[in-house]
Symmetry: C2
Amino acid sequence: MNIENAERRLYALWGEIRDLHSVKDLLDWDQETYMPAGGVEARARMASTVAAIKHQRLISPELRDVLAVCAEAPQGSVLAAQVRCAHLEVDRAVRMPESLVRALAEASAKGGASWQKARAASDFALFENDLRHLVELRRQEAAAMRDSGNAYDAMLHRFEPGATEASLVPLFRELRDALTPLVRSVAESGATVDESPASGDFPEDLQERFSRQLAAAIGFDFDVGRIDRSTHPFCVGINPTDVRMTWRCQANDFRSAVFGILHESGHGLYEQGLPAEWIRTPICDAISLGIHESQSRLWENHVGRSRGFWRWAFPRYREAFPDAPETDVESLWPLLHTVRPSLIRVEADEATYNLHVIVRFEIERKIFTGDLEVEELPAAWDDLYEELLGIRPGNAAEGVLQDVHWSQGMFGYFPTYTLGNVIAAQLYEAAARDLGDLEGLFAEGEFAPLLDWMRERIHRHGGRYTAAELVERATGKPLSADDLLAYLRRTTEEVYGARV
Amino acid sequence: MNIENAERRLYALWGEIRDLHSVKDLLDWDQETYMPAGGVEARARMASTVAAIKHQRLISPELRDVLAVCAEAPQGSVLAAQVRCAHLEVDRAVRMPESLVRALAEASAKGGASWQKARAASDFALFENDLRHLVELRRQEAAAMRDSGNAYDAMLHRFEPGATEASLVPLFRELRDALTPLVRSVAESGATVDESPASGDFPEDLQERFSRQLAAAIGFDFDVGRIDRSTHPFCVGINPTDVRMTWRCQANDFRSAVFGILHESGHGLYEQGLPAEWIRTPICDAISLGIHESQSRLWENHVGRSRGFWRWAFPRYREAFPDAPETDVESLWPLLHTVRPSLIRVEADEATYNLHVIVRFEIERKIFTGDLEVEELPAAWDDLYEELLGIRPGNAAEGVLQDVHWSQGMFGYFPTYTLGNVIAAQLYEAAARDLGDLEGLFAEGEFAPLLDWMRERIHRHGGRYTAAELVERATGKPLSADDLLAYLRRTTEEVYGARV
């Protein structure tokens, strides 16, 4: 087989693998949005069948042979990137014994159920054994995966290819050392922000209409995407021509819906911007969750919480909610940048959010070195919250049991949230250097220049470059926390005064 | 391999085949309800991949071997029924050359597109070549399929296993001979029904709420089912725990929504009543489209157009539509049983509907004997409408181009509509013999006895018996048009007087 034939065959084989992946995405989306409650058991079997067939395709000898021929492609070529991206999935599949795949699927289902009970009862003991089993299985997986890196690297690799514990430790240390005193100084300053202008009666249908208006304004294309409701907002790119996000709102505060939709739209814009000419090939996929999260955070925070954005959005907000409390852009702006230590990650502000993530990162690291046993988690969690955020959970539900991730066996996922924040800030600064007065553009409703910049430098590449290469190509420098920290210091000082 | 092991293995293999079928159902449902318009091309590839994998599974040597061992099961046993149902799909898959499968898929896509254009322009010539190609491919398929029967039997077999042209000809002849004069006598009598009580302003949200109320009342279980909107109403049983129907309405006439929802609910009740203990095995499926349609027609016509039903429904109707025209059950009842020759099948009344079907049956037969060429279809169509219904289409859009079926290569589908009407009437009479005053029950909102009767005699058997066996077991006699004709004569005479 020559390389041209091998390349063609790679795309044919991968096309079906990607179709199965798209099917799985649709099954998941449907389960969270419209599936009748009684369908859950049969749906689990459908999903498992699709996953098993995809696994069989990934480990097929033909795919292996085709990839071996394609590996002769010149370094730096598209085909070389295709091979690299394909191997991310193939290597994992090949090394995972089918017994472990099944055991993990079962343990996740069981863990999800016992976690829900444990959280409802705020009783870690109800979840402890299932969690221990999940940790044990993921340790086995890590042992099967690792070439050289450590066990936790194998976990990170699933969500952020190329990231290592060793590369994250100094980055997260820097954030921790900078943010802990920042957050503490705000708390100790006693300064508060009057949040009443954001509180009121925001009818659900009006919030939905306004949210859709915002998504469309920043460029989300409803011809190849849609918005539905779900308990927990998410975005899934079934493929670049079918991107679906979900939405929820709070009746008494518009911020949940508005920043939720901007966040998910950021994910959606990325998915809609993936290289459609390479659809169904390995590089037509998000390169990492950190890059993905950078796009959601960029539109949510750097755009959506800016004065420029609200100069444009405010009259539309007034029109959408005629009964909302009287306010103006200058009064509203501080409400979008409050800093307040809290116990629940998903409700955290921009600055404290990263500390929530670092708590989880520290715990996960220790789990995979064996320094922390599962029964020690609740105490370790509470201690770290006290150390980093200065507050201590009153119970397990608002402590170690708050997140779904571990119950699904997802260790190594949390760090991508903070990576996303770091990358978002760095990309925004680079775009501002290139495009000039971004806030001035936003004030005119001009979001296309920023979107085009992201399309050109991030979206259209798909998996063509690694996440680290992508960041450096787009911003001219390696990943660094500088821009994020400067942004957080600037906004915090402006809201709370120079004394913080 | 002994028979016990073979049976276990059959269910394991079939479980995955059925999962793929369920996935395909979900893909189709999603495409008709929520998929963004731009996703259509990628969706076609996903569907094609799933279909190809299912086809590969159906023709696998292991499944063939397992079925061969299971074929030793005692006649009349469940396992024998499983083997029979499995063979319905396997035999077709094995005989279909993959090139023909692909050619049909492409020709259907192409035919669907040119049919839409042709119908919009009312110009048969725009569709003629694609239709000719579809006919040619289906003739090839028939040649690959048939053991002994004729080519049209191979078409019927896809939708109504066991039905043959030879068995349908006398049945349809009897209907034609009885209904043509009945319809003509109504037309010639000059009698008309004042339909104004059904006309008015029926707001869409109120119609939707009322329709959901009706579906729930007759037993549709929303815990394992749901209703959405689509251009053309349909029902799909992804599995017995996830049954989805769709709905539409007319703003100025409540009948479209009400009888639409009762019709689809009938399909849905059947799907929800399939033997869940045999889920993912061959017999956990509708045995034929004729049986399926009997369930929709039963609830739509025999229940939904009865006086008993309206004695219960009328106060609810008044409550749902406070601004609807003043009327009462006795004034409303004739509006539900009008007989009026018309050109469009989907808008036809109970009596003329079967004549619309017979037109298509006669044409399809002649296509597959070679007695009719595609270019002769428009004239043959118009002539038959004049002969059977006494009216002649003014153009191709309201004539030969009105139905989607042929553009999808679905020949042999139409007869199942009339089979459904025949079976529905026969089942209803048998249930009335067993249960006594059905209309008295309906008037009290008691629909469970009739549903339970159907569950017991039809639904729970799935594919355990053939359609013919099922009808005879449930009603004590072979399939016959007697009950349908008696019902249509009775209602028509009551509406239009004894002179018809």
